[in-house]
Amino acid sequence: MIEAIFAYEFLQNAFLSGAIIGMIAPLLGAFIVVRRLSLIADALSHVTLSGIAAGLLLGQTYPVFAAVNPLYFGMAFSVGGSLLIERLRGVYTHYQELAIPIMMSGGIGIGVIFISLADGFNTDLFSYLFGSVSAVSRDDLYAVLGISALVLLTVFLLYKELFILSFDEEYAKASGIPAKLIHFIFIILTALVIAVSMRIVGVLLVSALMTLPVAAAMRMAKGFKQTIGLSVLFGEIAVLCGLVSAFYLNLAPGGTIVVTSIVILLAVLLWKRIKN
């Protein structure tokens, strides 16, 4: 395997992107889970799909766009979607969760229209839905690298604000922290991470990589920093095991990564049970 990674550029792309996503998706995921926003990740991934479909359709119809990586359309849609969700949450103050099914079905609906307009796509679409070991390009890797640098820097600089906002939103607001701005930055980052993670785990399973490692970590950790650390560790294990098995068994990595995460989660729950 190691030799193969050195030999083939596509494997380098997949494994490097995977290793980075295995870190930043659970990192943001820890904040998402404790803020009870898990379903927002799901909604955004579906909106990202419609962006990807739009990108593929445009590329097919107008050769000018064929050179543009559909991932960037996905990112743009995801960020737009995150802003819309915030607006909708403001509209339905007492039924904030309504924003999620609205965006989710909207994202899929628009995506399906674009897909049928293009008369169905080739295997490309399949790789966006469930992830791929072979389809990750150098360009995708650079996008992953750029977004990750942004995420790591932001979380490093705004850690204490993000923490207090997640732990006690009212207190954060009352003590004069720019809660709205911090939340806005956070939701944009989430949208971007979802868009770039999709290349590896796929649209349908990206939110799993943000939530399952955190769900396992929360059962074991003392404190929030440890929760983040364990989430990242579990995320890395899931992505790397998932990619290796996907490569050898010729499976879509989205499936193998999520199944590995579930196995880790079950192991942690079992360990906790035996310990008590």
């Binding site: 404790v34 600089l157 954060a172 009352a174 003590s175 929360m218 404190g223």
Partner: protein, 255 residues
């Protein structure tokens, strides 16, 4: 009660929600170094008065001064610590240690992009010690009892060294055998650290032997003075100002 300068001064404040008057002609002050109990039944306007002090509500008439400065010009909000009723805004399953929660109280003071260093860690250590929770520094907040959690929130409120601490019904959700030691801890903050305390409660019986001053609120301020003056009131006067018979010397044994 003009023996010391006031840290909170409220003059002739009226407040109404829609058409209903909640507070009328409130004159109220908290002298420096005092332990003031603000007492009143549910719906008496206590929370409204607190929100006015904290600047979350603007009174329709009257003046509010903090540390001798008119409230609309007041900037040093870090001099006022506030502990709300337990568990109204935080979820108990949150995976955070006592250290992390108390450190959260320094977020605003440190400012954007700054990360905690030695000075901040020492401040946390001290705050946790003064509420008697130093043995729990690395425990998850969700694993503690209600009373212990409330102490942690007080540590978070005092970690930035405010001169006044405002507590809204702090013993709600604290089991009765721990209420005593909870008040001892407050007395310690008041005596040893010289912190001015304003405690809001609907239960006057539990605070009569702890506070230095009392204010009885029920839309109007019915009594406002030192504990000594309060004790000298006879049964009839008490009953009049509180609306029904109260047991002044009910020392919270029979909860």
């Amino acid at each position: 009660m003009n023996e010391k300068p006031s840290v909170i001064d409220i003059r002739n404040v009226n407040f109404r929600y829609d058409r209903e008057n909640v507070l009328e002609q409130i004159h109220f002050s908290v002298p420096e170094g005092a332990f003031v109990g603000l007492v009143g039944p549910n719906g008496s306007g206590k929370s409204t008065l607190l929100k006015i002090i904290l600047g979350l509500l603007k009174p329709k008439e009257g003046e509010v001064e903090l540390f001798g400065i008119p409230q609309d010009q007041f900037k040093s909000w870090d001099r006022i610590g506030f502990v709300s009723q337990k568990a109204n805004s935080f979820n108990t399953g949150f995976p955070a240690t006592v250290l992390e929660v108390v450190m959260g109280g320094l977020t605003k003071k440190m400012g954007l992009f700054r990360r905690p260093g030695q000075a901040e860690r020492e401040a946390v250590q001290q705050a946790v010690q003064s509420v008697g929770m130093e043995a729990f520094l690395n425990r998850n907040i969700g694993d503690l009892s209600g009373g212990q959690q409330q102490r942690v929130f007080i540590a978070r409120a005092i970690v930035s060294r405010p001169s006044v601490l405002i507590l809204d019904e702090p013993t709600v959700g604290v089991d009765s055998q721990n209420v005593d030691s909870f008040y001892r801890m407050l007395t310690h903050l008041n005596h040893e650290l010289g912190m001015t305390l304003l405690l809001v409660t609907h239960d006057i019986g539990t605070i009569t032997d702890k506070v230095t001053h009392v204010a009885c609120l029920n839309k109007y301020l019915h009594f406002h003075g030192s504990m000594k003056q309060f004790i000298e009131l006879d049964e009839q006067e008490l009953s009049d100002l509180y609306g029904h018979g109260i047991r002044l010397l009910d020392h919270h044994h029979d909860h």
